[in-house]
Amino acid sequence: MSAPFDEELRRARLLVTAGSGGVGKTTTAAAMAVRAATLGRRAAVLTIDPARRLADALGLGELTGELRRVEPRHFTETGLTADGELWAMMLDVKTTGDQMVRRFAPDARTAQTILDNAYYQYFSTSLAGAQEYVAIEQVRALIDEGGFDLVILDTPPAAHAIDFLDAPDRLVSGLGSRAVQMLRTDGDDAGFGARLTRGGRGLILRGLNKLTGGPFIEELTRFLAVFGSIIDALQASGEAVKARLRADDTRFFLVTSPTRSNVDEAVRFRGQLTERGFPLGGVILNRAHVPLAAVHDGPDSRAELDAALIDGGLADVPADRRARVLDGLFAGLDRHNALADSDILASDLLKRATGRRPWRIPLFAHEIRDLGDLDRVARELRPVEGMSSAPDDV
């Protein structure tokens, strides 16, 4: 049976899920990938969330920096058939950084010099932001060389997602910048420092050294000089991903939960995405309460509902306790519908802000545990119109 979102999964080559922390981006990305595999596509899901959230539900035990295939038996065990393939990995900064250096360095010796440098450690393993640089290469390689029909990219929470998505642009412009260009033309150790020292710039270098109070700048520029040898190749890769993120068959999906602050952030984030020319596929309202028709509360309906409770297995429960259960059921429905109303408000806000109708994933009674649950999430992913209230009972 086809589901409303299948068309997107068949058409796209790159899907990017983005949004605030805790809204279910990673789960949504995984669900899309599972569904794509059942639709016969060769799909890879790439998460940069170091918390390894995906692994459990995918049955991988642990997600590593290595691309791993979800075994077909995990599909069959949950009653799914996967004509395609499902692969998953977590971006491991250290591994991908090393791979990148080895790949782009002109020769093995240069690669080793870079890998051994103390500042390379600083760049590749430890500092926030380095991930973004190395992610570029990973995404590009998966799409261009991995032979995948569809790559689904899960991004960091919104505040950092823009940094992440800007990485190709920043890298390209950073690498093209004057400072870095200079590293390339005079690859000798003192290049950058020498340039800074020249002319009126002696003052600048002295000032910088005063700031850091040590040989930090010289050390750093020495590293950048060696690093400069891989710049051409890196820059080309950065350009390729820059274009990939904006290609015709790339779609960004903003995931949000219905809370006001997350909706506001999604609206803000959407602006940042369009500003940068990223193709927005839509907004997904996750954990939405789907409205349920109200039930009249009166003596007659109470009597009928009580009979239904008895019919449902509570015959041996005393009447006063059945009444309490019924009270709770009425309260449960009211509360659910109150939340559904506020979710519709959220979806209206999103619709107004984005000019298109949002998608929604309903709130499930239990947590996501396996591939079957993930598949269900993707099948339940529907345009919000499907949420409108059913008519009241007679």
């Binding site: 805790g22 959230r53 459990d56 505040a159 700031l211 809370t259 006001r260 039930v295 409770l309």
Partner: protein, 331 residues
């Protein structure tokens, strides 16, 4: 000089709040700020280049990059990396013209831009400077500095930064300051890092890892673990047991009621299971219920702060912490 009579403020004076994205770190930082200020400690709560959730939560206008006193003993700031760089630069260089000469230089600008992690380092450095900031009389300006730290993943790197710089830069100002920062971060007499988690499946595992990495790998002193947004159960225990026995109803009306209630009951019982696992991590626990309102306002924060204070009180009702949950039965 009433200040001379000030009671020493109990440790820690440098407080960081971290956890996964969306778990309510800012809420917890806001609550801790309120409680600290009410105890009489001059308190500064720092957000790091965020969309400023704390000021609006407390019912105040956003404060921006300037330290702003919002109520008695409580100031807020949203630290901006650019301003932090300028402040640090001016402190070391002393002359604005010299600062401009250096940082307006395109070579330097692109170098700064090219070095990853620079912004985090600058913001952490600024928060650190607030910790040791002195007033005109040379006394500490703040009794307590609370930081709404970045989400985990990003956060681990963030905590590790000073050590990286200390080890990567062999000598000089930067080395010294990084070493001081690291000494502060790892000093249990001055610092505590509180963790925030939701009672959901994956956060339990993540919190376990986070605890191991912060405390084990980095030696950073942990404070308590806040289990946030615990959903309330739809039934008191007896009615819950009756409800659980109910088969999927055939009556369509009862079916809808059952569906709605089951979602809530399912989430509440799953949450309880995960709360149990979180309580077993061996950290002092604070439990906060899910608030009914979608956007937390001052009234909500005050209510949560009262619950928080109750659980933190040394002789408060925490003996039964292992069992109790603040789930409100509605029946």
């Amino acid at each position: 000089m009433p200040d001379l009579d000030r009671q020493p403020v109990p440790a820690p004076r440098f407080v960081l709040v971290t956890g996964k994205g969306g778990v309510g770190k800012s809420t917890v930082a806001a609550i801790l700020g309120l409680l600290s200020a009410r105890s009489g400690a001059r308190t500064l709560v720092c957000e790091l280049d965020s969309h400023e959730r704390i000021a609006p939560m407390l019912g105040h206008e956003p404060v921006g990059g300037r330290v702003t006193r919002v109520e008695e003993n409580l100031s807020l700031v949203n630290i901006q990396p650019g301003e932090a760089l300028e402040e640090y630069g001016l402190m070391k260089l002393r002359f604005r013209t010299l600062y401009r000469l250096i940082f307006d230089n395109p070579l330097v600008a692109s170098l700064v831009r090219f070095v990853p992690g620079m912004n985090d380092l600058l913001m952490l450095g600024k928060a650190f400077n607030h910790e040791r900031e002195a007033d005109d009389a040379g006394r500490p300006r703040w009794d307590r500095v609370i930081i709404d730290a970045p989400a985990t993943g990003h956060g681990i790197t963030f905590f590790r930064l000073p050590r990286i710089i200390r080890d990567a830069v062999p000598a000089g100002n930067m080395h010294r300051e990084a070493a001081d920062m690291w000494a502060l971060l790892t000093d249990p007499r001055r610092t505590a890092v509180h963790l925030v988690a939701l009672p959901e499946e994956l956060p339990v595992q993540e919190t376990r890892e986070l605890k191991a990495r912060l405390a084990g790998e980095l030696g950073i002193p942990l404070g308590h673990l806040v289990i946030n947004m615990i959903p309330s159960a739809p039934f008191a225990p007896e009615a819950a047991a009756d409800f659980a026995r109910l088969d999927e109803p055939r009556d369509p009306r009862l079916h809808r009621m059952w569906t709605a209630t089951r979602i809530r009951a399912g989430r509440a019982s799953a949450a309880e299971k995960h709360a149990v696992a979180l309580r077993e991590l061996g950290l002092p626990i604070v439990e906060l219920p899910q608030r009914p309102e979608r956007t937390l306002d001052r009234a909500g924060i005050d209510a949560l702060a009262a619950l928080y204070a109750e659980q933190l009180a040394p002789d408060g009702p925490r003996e039964d912490a292992g069992q109790s949950t603040p789930l409100e039965g509605e029946l």
